[in-house]
């Protein structure tokens, strides 16, 4: 970065505002909107309080564990009573609990709209994305735990390193045999081929599927549903070419690859992006068989 002070241009308002005598100025409009929003927030806060007073709260039982603090090393469950609002998700409730009752409550979240994949948790006995799970659909008390079969770092935060390693192991990037002459040329995919891989591209790396699979739980080397789905996404991409596909199939059909799947369908049940994981794994199995069995 340069240390130069950016030149200060003297900005005179080029667009002189229309005469503010009758019409309110843009600034006024903005301020009005702001006041409205503030009032809205106040109303919401009030509604939350009323809800709490009126007993319209939801009970959350949240797993707590902190290896670094003596007295918190023994896992326990904390109860939180969160005022319920229409449309409230488990993540909203956790955020409320953290901001209102206990700032040490730890969990990952970012996008709050099922895009970033940070907040897969074990809610009422199932792997779910907290930001995509409506409180109204859950029976009380809502039990929130970190993902099973993963090392817990703190509270609801688990170690994702192993999951990411498995994802990396399938080389999850587009890598065509032949590149177009012109570096910047588009590498087009047919509509049919795009349809074929469409669902598999949706993965947000949340790890819910891996956590739900008890084959993955018993075999740390098993690539797992998400990684195999990633492998599917590229192995089925027609643009990559035959040589690359062979390499991909070798990864897929290794000892701890596709054959470990025993079609429990638990990954498919929990995937928040509705990816038909088992279907993709089964198709890869058939692909692997076709690749190895040649009768001619």
């Amino acid at each position: 970065m340069s240390t130069q002070v950016p030149q200060q241009t003297d900005e005179t308002d080029a667009e002189t505002e229309p005469d503010a005598a009758e019409e309110p100025s843009k600034g006024d409009l903005r301020r009005e909107k702001k006041a409205e929003r503030a009032a809205e927030r106040e109303r919401e806060a009030e509604a939350a309080e009323n809800a709490a007073a009126g007993g319209n709260t939801r009970e959350l039982k949240v797993f707590r564990f902190d290896p670094e603090i003596e007295g918190k090393q023994e896992p326990r469950f904390d109860e939180f009573h969160v005022p319920f609002e229409k449309g409230m998700t488990v993540l909203d409730a956790l955020i409320y609990a953290r901001d209102t009752y206990d700032s040490s409550l730890t969990f990952r979240h970012s996008c709050r709209q099922a895009v970033c994949g940070s907040d897969a948790m074990f809610v009422n006995g199932q792997q779910r994305l907290a930001c995509k799970t409506q409180l109204s659909e859950l029976s009380e008390p809502v039990r929130v735990e970190p993902l099973p079969h993963a090392d817990v770092r703190k509270d609801l935060v688990v170690d994702m390193e192993h999951f990411y390693d498995q994802m990396d192991a399938v080389e999850p990037f587009f890598d065509a045999d032949e590149l177009p002459e012109d570096e910047l040329a588009e590498q087009r995919q047919s509509r049919q081929n795009r349809e074929k891989v469409k669902m598999s591209t949706r993965c947000i790396w949340c790890g819910a599927c891996m956590s739900s699979c008890n084959i993955a739980a018993g075999d740390n080397q098993y690539l797992g549903p998400a990684a195999l789905n990633k492998a599917y996404r590229f192995a089925m991409d027609d643009r990559e070419g035959e040589a690359r596909k062979q390499e991909r199939l070798e990864i897929i059909e290794q000892e701890h690859g596709v054959w470990r799947c025993q079609t429990q369908f638990s990954c498919t049940e929990v995937c928040p992006k509705d990816i038909p994981l088992t279907e993709h794994i089964q198709e890869l199995k058939r692909e692997a068989v076709k690749n190895n069995l040649k009768f001619w």
């Binding site: 079969h149 993963a150 090392d151 739980a217």
Partner: protein, 141 residues
């Protein structure tokens, strides 16, 4: 992902409520498969009594006093054995029906209705088992 925080024995056992159709099918399939393997060995043990029986005299054989016939008759007299036979049929029928379901899944057929085909296997198993009861229990009382 094999590590996990300890949720305690009671909790682990409470986990069955969280299973869905596909997982139940998997558990039942393993269970019935291994019951069948277990039965295979007892079956071989019982049938093996035919080997010493074959050395016995014709008169003994004709009278039905040989080891083999005696073993079978003694076993079939027991109500418990009759009931176990009904159980064995149920186990075998479920394993075959669900095994067929799994073969279809391997072929990529009907993956969207995998839960329904599991329930169908269960119901069919139940029906066949109930229908078999008169045959298995005939003359047991």
């Amino acid at each position: 992902m094999s590590q996990s925080h300890n949720r305690g024995l009671i909790e682990d056992f409470g986990r069955w409520r969280e299973f869905r159709a596909g997982m139940w099918a998997w558990i039942f399939h393993k269970f019935t498969g291994w019951v069948l393997v277990g039965y295979l060995f007892t079956h071989i043990a019982v049938l093996s009594t035919a080997i010493p029986a074959s050395g016995q005299e014709t008169a003994v054989l004709q009278a039905g006093d040989d080891v083999y016939t005696q073993t079978i008759v003694t076993l079939e007299e027991l109500l418990l054995v009759r009931i176990l036979e009904v159980g064995l049929l149920a186990v075998a029928v479920f394993h075959i029906l669900n095994g067929t379901r799994l073969l279809f899944i391997d072929l990529g057929v009907g993956l969207e209705s995998q839960d329904k085909s599991f329930y169908a296997s269960l119901i069919l198993t139940g029906l066949i088992t109930v229908a078999s009861v008169p045959t298995f229990l005939a003359g047991a009382f």
